[in-house]
Symmetry: C2
């Protein structure tokens, strides 16, 4: 997914400002779907806005494959620092309005941005490396429940996310139905398709093929950055539509007026762009985390073990906003619609929107204005509805 564009020199007055990454040490075992257990674990998280007295205004944002807990704001006063990955969406008056809501985001289990993952120290003090167990979306969500407990929140007003973040949101609604009022499910699928698995597997193969990977134990030597860069490029191309690639680069040459007929060095702008994406990614991401998280994506099929998708969703009680993007060929409109149809079959409160957007899967990060109206408006409505229900409840209680 793209990072945000260059930050305006004058900081957006609607920024959440300077924020701090926090760490929750959970000294309880986390049993995993695979049968393995993490004896204790750490979650890195950030929060924006304030939790109200009733503890009813919390929204958990779940991040995608390459994301982290740093959704919004800045760590320093450095004017060249880029803000968090969804800064345009989170802040006072924004899509996720921090004047009203208390926003939480934590780095997933298996990640490499402060939560326990393959690069973290195992109980013996050395990095887990190849010893880190594979995890599922279910496991990521179970880990998050400990953080929500720590924050003293019984019920989340919403769980929201795009891509893998949406998978976590859906999993929350099925596994912890009493703890989620609303699910915002953006640009995602209730079931990774064969093609989804295939693309992820090729990325993993690129990492395995890098001799520096060394079966996952490379933390005392060189990291497999060559393989990880290729994996990132493969992922990246699935986030963009054919149309957005044409619009952005067409067949334009990179720093040449005539084809140089050369290997390795980029000839076309799109080649330079992909190489840059690869190089940038390896500076901030761990190859083993990429393996673990893509596996979690592939394992995701909310209907697994159930006769149908509808049967699998039976426990879910939340209201759902499901948004697909017309040019998203990674997680298609059809996949989003499958989820909406199954929830409608259960008479759940569900709204499905197909947004006509040209940027492929990345649209959920790029089309902020459209999303602000749609998602922000939906949150408004749901919040008003929640408040009047609560007021009626209070009146009934007082009257009784």
């Amino acid at each position: 997914m793209p990072t945000n564009g260059a930050r305006p020199k004058l900081r957006d007055h609607r920024s959440v400002g300077v924020v701090k990454r926090q760490i929750a040490h959970i000294d309880q075992p986390l049993p995993l779907r695979s049968g393995a257990t993490l004896e204790s674990f750490t979650l890195a998280y950030e929060t924006y806005g304030s939790l109200n007295a009733e503890r009813s205004n919390a929204i958990l944002i779940c991040h995608a494959l390459s994301g982290d807990a740093h959704v919004a704001g800045y760590y320093t006063d450095d004017p060249d620092e880029r803000p968090g990955w969804w800064d345009e969406a989170v802040g006072p008056g924004k899509m996720f309005d921090t004047n009203r809501f208390f926003i939480i985001c934590s780095n997933v289990i298996g990640g490499c941005q402060g939560s326990t993952g393959p690069s973290s120290p195992a109980p013996d003090g050395k990095p887990y490396g190849s010893r880190f167990p594979l995890v599922t979306i279910e496991d990521m969500v179970r880990a998050q429940t400990h953080l929500i407990d720590l924050l003293g929140i019984e019920r989340l007003f919403a769980v929201a996310g795009g891509s893998m973040g949406a998978m976590q949101a859906l999993q929350w609604s099925v596994d912890y139905p009493a703890r989620v009022r609303t699910v915002l499910f953006l640009a995602a699928t209730p079931r990774s398709s064969t093609q989804n698995i295939a693309f992820n597997e090729i990325g993993r193969q690129a990492i395995y093929a890098d001799p520096r990977w060394n079966g996952g134990d490379y933390y005392d030597g060189e990291a497999p950055v060559g393989g990880l860069a290729v994996a990132r490029m493969i992922g990246h191309i699935t986030y963009m539509s054919e149309h957005s690639l044409e619009t952005k680069f067409a067949r334009r040459l990179q720093n040449h007026t005539e084809l140089p007929y050369q290997l390795v060095k980029p000839e076309y702008q799109v080649e330079s762009y992909l190489q840059y994406q690869g190089e940038k990614f390896v500076q901030r991401f761990d190859a083993n985390s990429y393996l673990v998280i893509t596996k979690a994506l592939d394992y995701f099929d909310i209907s697994e073990g159930h006769p149908s998708l509808q049967a699998a969703l039976e426990p879910a009680q939340a209201s759902f906003l499901i948004v697909s993007f017309s040019s998203d060929w990674l997680y298609t409109a059809e996949q989003g619609l499958d989820l909406a149809t199954a929830l409608e079959g259960l008479n759940r409160d569900v709204k499905y929107h197909l947004i006509h957007a040209d940027f492929g899967h990345d649209s959920f990060l790029v089309e902020v204005e459209l999303m602000t109206n749609l998602v922000g408006g939906y949150l408004d409505t749901m919040w008003t509805q929640y408040q009047s229900e609560r007021d009626a409840q209070v009146r009934r209680t007082q009257g009784g």
Copy 2:
């Protein structure tokens, strides 16, 4: 592209039978688009059927990225040998009917199946390796004209191909309009798109990232088979549709009833399939040839240097059959239609067919029955038309 399925134990009575790869040594310089020159070169080729006395029944089939000159038949009597890559389409009574036509196919310049490429000896006797110049579709076609000259053929009845083979056929019609009566342009594009370039570039990056590649000079050591396997997997997934992947593999596990939660070894069938495709490919293909040929694909834009596609096609005089496949997302129906529209704008004789097929880009190899009716029928019609024109010509000459 897939190889054919297991061969029936009793050989197809319509097989061209046991065939022989032939070698043409061309002792003339081949000037290349890049400005470099091959001082002499070799083309490996095969032929099936017989050239008629008038030398008017020759069809040149051009192969795709991973193909070679061995289109049909067998090299030995070994009952386990697989036939050529388009055996179902070439033989007595088949789509390309060897009872009527003389079929020629040669391995492209830059390839690794007998024609001059990076693994061939340079004039100094050592493999070219990194010294091999990059080539274009135009260069491949220019090399083929020498072979057609050697065979004593003035004018080809048809030039045919799928994918990169179709690009060569189109290039023939523009560069040598007097030498081509008919073009069969299947599952291809007149211009590689940004997304086409991007996928090829990622495959190349996987090869560059393999330390064994060594800048292209690896012929006295280990080949970069790890990188090449990943490149092949990336290519392979673009040849299949999401639907064909779902139909073939869905989310079925490989040799397990429950998820083993493991890295490296395949968990899902589609992973095993991709790994197999990679392993099989590196046994028969050279990594440098993969680089050179994907570059040729990326360079392909028949309209380059012209104000429009239509202007670029002005020289072409052939009749065209253009076939796209509905589920082909590598070379889309829209791209085929662009070519058809431009040719119609020039009042050329052009037929465009969109075949509704589920197998993605590979459909042109898989949907043999449909193709036999369409392509075989078209060749029938064109042949009959050619013969009556020729008879009329003879009558006019005799009458005059």
